[in-house]
């Protein structure tokens, strides 16, 4: 169980393609400005160029020097198809043909039980680690990542251990991720219902339940905006959620709306910050429409 009483959230959804090469640099600056809200650990998801033929699997290992060398070859042999690997510190992004994704996930469990899958999809890559946020984004070279949108989180854990798996974002479906500032009070009940419906959980974390709930709703055919509307009825507690899908970006605050949130929009982007401070270096922020998202109101953008 987790109550993240402080925490910082940032999110950036680009409308202007010319900014895509700078997505990582912009997100890294935003994340660093929220460092003091969450100095324990940090994480981010970046949506790069989507390739429908290939699936990306982001894995994490506590012993990357033992697990990563030769991993692509082992995986390739196991699935009988080509596999490639890009190693970034404790994380690696594996590429496999899209139709071999499930085989690859099964094979990874056999290859090393230490490997943790952070996220899978056509576009998403997820990195999270214990440490001060600027240090975490430096380790994974967020500065030089490119993409269409991204979400970051800085965590101040108050009730559970500071671990890599407890860090956000949480990803429970292909190209989906969620970060959360707050605490859910009915996550155990919701988790039980979702497990009964076949959803699988990696942690006891309340945020993973919120992510899985949205995945479950979207599996029923709802889009992200509709799934967020439903969560207002079913999720109880304090939350500000920022959610990403392959081409969508959503924001939702609970009806009490204690957890801070600021949105900014220009012709070039939509940006979210726990505070305005996170947004101050974005291009054209002086003339952006800046507002505090209303409680119990779904905000949703799609490419």
């Amino acid at each position: 169980m987790v109550e993240d009483s402080m925490c910082g959230i940032v999110g950036l959804f680009l409308k202007d393609k010319s900014l895509e090469p700078k997505l990582g640099a912009m997100l890294a600056d935003m994340l660093s400005r929220m460092g003091d809200r969450g100095p324990d650990s940090a994480g981010f998801a970046v949506y790069g160029e989507a390739n429908a033929a290939a699936a990306k699997i982001t894995v994490q290992s506590a012993q990357p020097r033992d697990d990563f060398p030769g991993l692509a070859d082992k995986l390739s042999t196991a699935i009988g198809a080509p596999a490639d690997i890009r190693i970034k510190d404790t994380h690696a992004v594996l590429g496999v043909p899209a139709d071999k994704l499930q085989d690859a996930r099964d094979a990874l469990v056999e290859i090393s039980p230490r490997l943790r899958v952070m996220g899978v999809g056509e576009a998403i890559e997820i990195y999270k680690e214990v440490g001060y946020p600027t240090e975490v984004s430096r380790r994974f070279d967020l500065q030089h990542m490119t993409g269409t949108h991204g979400i970051g989180h800085t965590r101040m854990a108050t009730e559970s251990a500071v671990t890599t798996l407890g860090a956000h974002p949480f990803s429970t479906g292909p190209d989906e991720c969620l970060v959360h500032n707050g605490s859910l009070s009915n996550h155990n009940n919701i988790r039980r219902d979702l497990v009964r419906d076949g959803m699988r959980f990696e942690t006891e974390n309340d945020t993973e339940v919120a992510a899985a709930y949205l995945t479950w709703r979207m599996n029923q055919g709802l889009n992200l905006g509709e799934a967020l509307e439903k969560s207002l009825d079913d999720l109880d507690g304090f939350y500000t959620f920022v959610v990403g899908t392959k081409d969508g970006f959503g924001v939702l605050r609970d009806p009490i709306a204690c957890k801070p949130a600021v949105l900014a929009e220009t012709d070039q982007y939509v940006a979210f910050g726990s505070e305005y401070r996170a947004l101050v270096n974005l291009p054209g922020i002086e003339n952006a429409r800046v507002w505090e998202p209303e409680p119990a109101t779904v905000y949703f953008w799609e490419h």
């Binding site: 709306a257 801070p260 401070r277 409680p295």
Partner: protein, 228 residues
């Protein structure tokens, strides 16, 4: 007229300088550049000076203000003018949660919208909001006046004591023990004075409704004893 650039001067140094000023100082007009959403800008002033902040600020700007006029030429984060004692604080843009919370005196003017819990537990401050206010505003408000030219969110004035609330637009819902009250001549006069002090014209006191305490929560009602 001293100009302080917060991109160069540390916030702590700037606030310390302000704290050193007393009545009679010659440095009465201050300009602050590049606040960039920093917290606690111009907190705890105790001198009749004017500080104009060019840009948006973070948490607790102008908190505990005494005598000074602080103008935010931008928007303000949570807790602007929290526990203000006297003086004037003007926010040209919007204000986040709990603007003017626990304020004991002075005038807070918000030219844009204020978010939830505006004037929570206010104790004598006057707050004038040109736009709308969010839910749970004036919760447990004890004294002072809250004037809203736009609409109010849910649960306005929940568990209110003796503060006066004047709302020109719609009230989404009233909180426990908060009721609409008659606008008597003294309230019209008071509202006229507050609007003038806030520099608002073209708005008539007759356009407002007054809300306040039904005073039903002041004493324990013996009929409720079984509920405990």
């Amino acid at each position: 007229m001293p100009t302080v650039d917060l991109a160069e001067t540390s916030l702590r140094e700037f606030n310390q300088t302000l704290h050193g000023l007393r009545e009679g100082t010659n440095e009465t007009e201050w300009i602050v550049l590049n606040p960039k959403g920093q917290h606690a800008v111009a907190v705890g002033i105790d001198a009749p000076i004017r500080v104009e902040i060019k840009g948006s600020v973070g948490y607790y700007c102008a908190g505990m203000n005494k005598l000074a006029t602080v103008v935010v030429d931008g928007s303000a984060g949570p807790g602007v003018a929290e526990n203000m004692m006297s003086g004037t604080v003007v926010v040209k843009g919007d204000a986040s949660q709990y603007a003017g919370a626990t304020g004991r005196g002075g005038l807070l003017v918000i030219e844009g919208n204020a978010s939830s819990r505006c004037g929570i537990s206010m104790k004598g401050i006057d707050i004038v909001v040109r736009g709308n206010i969010g839910h749970m505003s004036a919760f447990m408000a004890q004294s002072g006046n809250l004037v809203v030219l736009g609409d109010a969110g849910d649960a306005l004035g929940d568990s209110i004591y003796e503060a006066r609330l004047f709302v020109r637009g719609a009230v989404k819902s009233l909180g426990a023990d908060c009721i609409e009250k008659e606008m008597r001549p003294e309230h019209v006069a008071l509202l006229e004075e507050l609007l003038e002090k806030a520099g608002i014209d073209g708005v008539e006191p007759a356009e407002f409704k007054r809300y306040g305490s039904a005073r039903k929560l002041y004493n324990f009602n013996i009929d409720n004893a079984d509920a405990y």
